[in-house]
Subunit: 211 residues, 2 copies
Amino acid sequence: MASSVKKSAVTTRDAEATKGRILDAAEEEFAKGGLLGARTEAIAANIGVTKSMIFYHFGDKEGLYQAVLERAIALRIRSIQKIDIHSIEPKDAMRALVGAFIDDIVVNQNLPAIFFYEGIQNKGKYYGQIAIESIYRPFVEVIERGIKSGQFRKCDPLHVSVNIMGMCVFYFCHHENVKHLWPAGTDLLSKDMRAQHRSEAVEQVVASLLA
Amino acid sequence: MASSVKKSAVTTRDAEATKGRILDAAEEEFAKGGLLGARTEAIAANIGVTKSMIFYHFGDKEGLYQAVLERAIALRIRSIQKIDIHSIEPKDAMRALVGAFIDDIVVNQNLPAIFFYEGIQNKGKYYGQIAIESIYRPFVEVIERGIKSGQFRKCDPLHVSVNIMGMCVFYFCHHENVKHLWPAGTDLLSKDMRAQHRSEAVEQVVASLLA
DNA sequence: GTCTATAACCTGATAGAC
DNA sequence: GTCTATCAGGTTATAGAC
């Protein structure tokens, strides 16, 4: 979505296009500083428009933030709900869920930071119960089914689901901190390293569940 | 450390005491907004002193931030290095490491957010290679030993160590987001819930490693 | 729809009294 | 060592021209 924001100073006069470009740039800026730290000036400058456009199209900074969050939540819910978790055995269903979840992050690396900021700075105010349940329920259901069938070890499905998310996203949020563990110059977000993280995380999640 | 900052408007005239109180209050404020989002005014007001004290004792906001981070890093390194990971078998060493790690967070719940902010906002600038290696190396070594002895499954010790940290801290960073998964009114940071997270996380980490 | 100019406010940092 | 007063720069948001 916002992986490469196009810089253009051309006066487009296309409302929907401008709104979309603002959303992309805002997502990146909110991922860096959250609602509190984001600067409307920086968002506007990045796509070659003036601050006024933000207030014209989204009312205020908070309105823009809500729009960004809603889009991000919708994306997450959509791709997780695509997966048919009931017709395959728990182990494979979990593999599919975690894989799809990490694929989403790889496409849009702003997501983990945005949701972290939302929890810390805004106490989940703009997140909402329905969004959380839509995202976590598939994981919880697969774990419950796995325990019942004896394929998974006994555990608390809620805690374990939350920890699974942690395994998936921590790497993306802390890559600048932990980069020193790898040889100097290694780019933890390169295609190879991302693929390696995906593979290791999927295997570790499955292993953490098996009886 | 800063779990309960004492509010006191008494003019103490004790430099070390004041510095300590500023550090505690600053840690809490930096945990909420990072170096960028923290407000010196808020830090000062919380302990009943004026902003000037911050600049007198720490030079500038960045100096205060560095002092907070150094103290937090020292705490982490100290408690992890206390554990003798070589004289017990890998599974038990990992159990001890993860347990101690989460115990630190339970005592000072600001730590996970501070290190997250450091990675996202400052790109790990104030973290440093030595700190990261001191914290992660024990985990990596235990995993390597476990793989060699055949007790642990084959995996990449670096990626898996990073994911383990994610399992430990995600719960604390996202408790405001995921609280809706539990019955309304449940306090995810209550003593019982913290103990439950600790127990579930330790078991899940060990399970994620076993062959 | 988009821009320029500006209002109203906030924040880090300094100077100087006590 | 601590406080009060204040400045300079930055930030959200609005008004009005085009």
